[in-house]
């Protein structure tokens, strides 16, 4: 089960992921049209990318009044039949992560679909803050990180 794993340490808030996502998903360039959002927390000096977690039991699925959110049986991605969306925005409230995104162009709510398995935001991330990896591996990596290996430096080509 590969998911986008976020390494908050490495994110410098450049916003390339948002622009690339908007280009691929909306055909237009605007950070707000992206399925991935960077929370800029200036008071903490933090930039945190927030993107759909593809929950096992997605609350958005329960809240959808049009029953158009479903778990893909093969990949377990949380996907939408977005053409049926009436834009009631209930799923936006349901999502604890603010990862259901209002798409002002089509007046519907959308979420990250992982580009069908090759997320472009990850491909374009210059710092390695976004990693597309198996979640079990990610847990591993977190453990290793705790042991002192900084993903930031590894991903930037620095040797430890």
């Amino acid at each position: 089960m590969k998911r986008i794993v976020v390494n908050t340490e490495a994110c410098d808030g450049c916003g390339i992921c948002q622009l690339v996502c908007s280009a691929y998903k909306a055909g237009q360039w605007h950070p707000a049209f992206a399925r991935i959002k960077i929370k800029q927390l200036q008071e903490f000096g933090l930039n945190v990318p927030v993107v759909c977690m593809h929950c096992t039991y997605p609350p958005c699925e329960i809240f959808c009044v049009m029953n158009l959110i479903y778990k893909d049986p093969d990949t377990a991605y949380t996907l939408r039949n977005v053409e049926r969306c009436i834009g009631c925005r209930a799923c936006e409230i349901a999502c604890p992560f603010s990862a259901a995104v209002w798409d002002p162009l089509n007046e519907v709510v959308v979420n990250c679909d992982l580009c069908g398995g090759t997320p472009e935001c990850v491909n374009h991330c210059p710092t390695g803050a976004l990693i597309f990896m198996d979640i079990s591996e990610a847990a591993d990596k977190k453990r290793r990180e705790a042991a002192g290996l900084r993903i930031l430096e590894a991903s930037r080509g620095f040797s430890e």
Partner: protein, 417 residues
Amino acid sequence: MRVLIIGNGAAGNQAAACIRKHSSECEIVMFARESFPEYSACALPDVLAGWIPLDKTFLKTSLDYEQLQIKTCFGQEVNNVDINKQCLEAGDKKYYYDRLIMATGSQPIIPKIDGSQLNGNFVVKTPQDIERIIDHKPTRAVIVGAGNIGVETASALRNRGCIVYLIEMQDRIMPLLYDKKPADIIQTMLEQEDIRVFTGERVTGVAGEQQVERLLTDQQEIECDTVIWAAGVRQNVELARKAGLKIGGLGGIEVNKYMQCSEPGVFACGDCVQSPHVYTGKPSLSLLWSSAKRQADVAAANCMGKLDEYEGNCSVVIEEIMGIPCVAIGLNLHGLAGYETEVIEHESEDLYYRLLAVDDRVAGFQCVGSLEGTGSIFTMIKKGTPLSEARKLLHNKGSISTMAWYMDSSRYIFGEY
């Protein structure tokens, strides 16, 4: 195993889908009085407004039922349930079951007052209701009851170009969702849309020859050709009552947290049940799509022998008025009567919110102007996160770096802008 489901609404269908997810063999039979497939009641005002076509409200086709291997007995009233024999009667046939799920739903009330049977009286519940209203070609419409359905219907009819009146008995619109102050803000927004809102008025009758011509209240007479009743719903519990299931004080079927009824082998979910509120733990009615689906999940899981518990009702209602989102989550001051409630409130040009907290726990939230951060507030209400802990969390760099989404709600938690 054979599961019978009575009702073809959100709860019934969710239950069926969920059972199918748990088991591909289990036999599922659905009964419904109506003969059309599942539809989304929440989308009906959008149809009325002309934003989406009517057929978009249907969520399933008969093919979908086939694919899920659900047998359908639609257009058949269930006459009787025999709990001892584990069987029900529909038409002139008997159906035996291992588990029964009651998802009989609710229906809007048209009060028995003068003129309420005249042509031109409507409710908003099924796609047929909407078709009938549209065929009636309303020009001056009065909506009785300013709950969320009333408000949405008013907005929709206004969008069709009707002259719209909205009458509410209580002192404010959406009295069960909002407190006076935010309700007044929303009322002003509706009035800017040219919807004429009257609160604190009781409807006394409808006048007209064959057609609705006037609506009478205790304060005025309104000339109109259409009256839409949105002043409350009644749970469909006759069948359950006849079968001997316990009916609660609020008029819904009594269930435990596993959505089990008072008799074994029978589950109930959706509008027809009353279940504890997530915050107060007191029995409450939740007439919301999301509650119905969640209850159905729980009922389906438990009837398949998988343990699942219902967290309790928590209302979440969102309206968009003139493109401005309005949200009410959890209880308002009315619902919290008797509790010592702390109100964190803010008003600025384009944002109003109030957060209600009791004993350091967020109990309710009302906001006009933004949806930002409402997701984490909702999660806090559901989880009962103490306010003080949330505040601590929002000051801690370590925790915030892994849970940045909580930051969105920080303005509400701290009562900032």
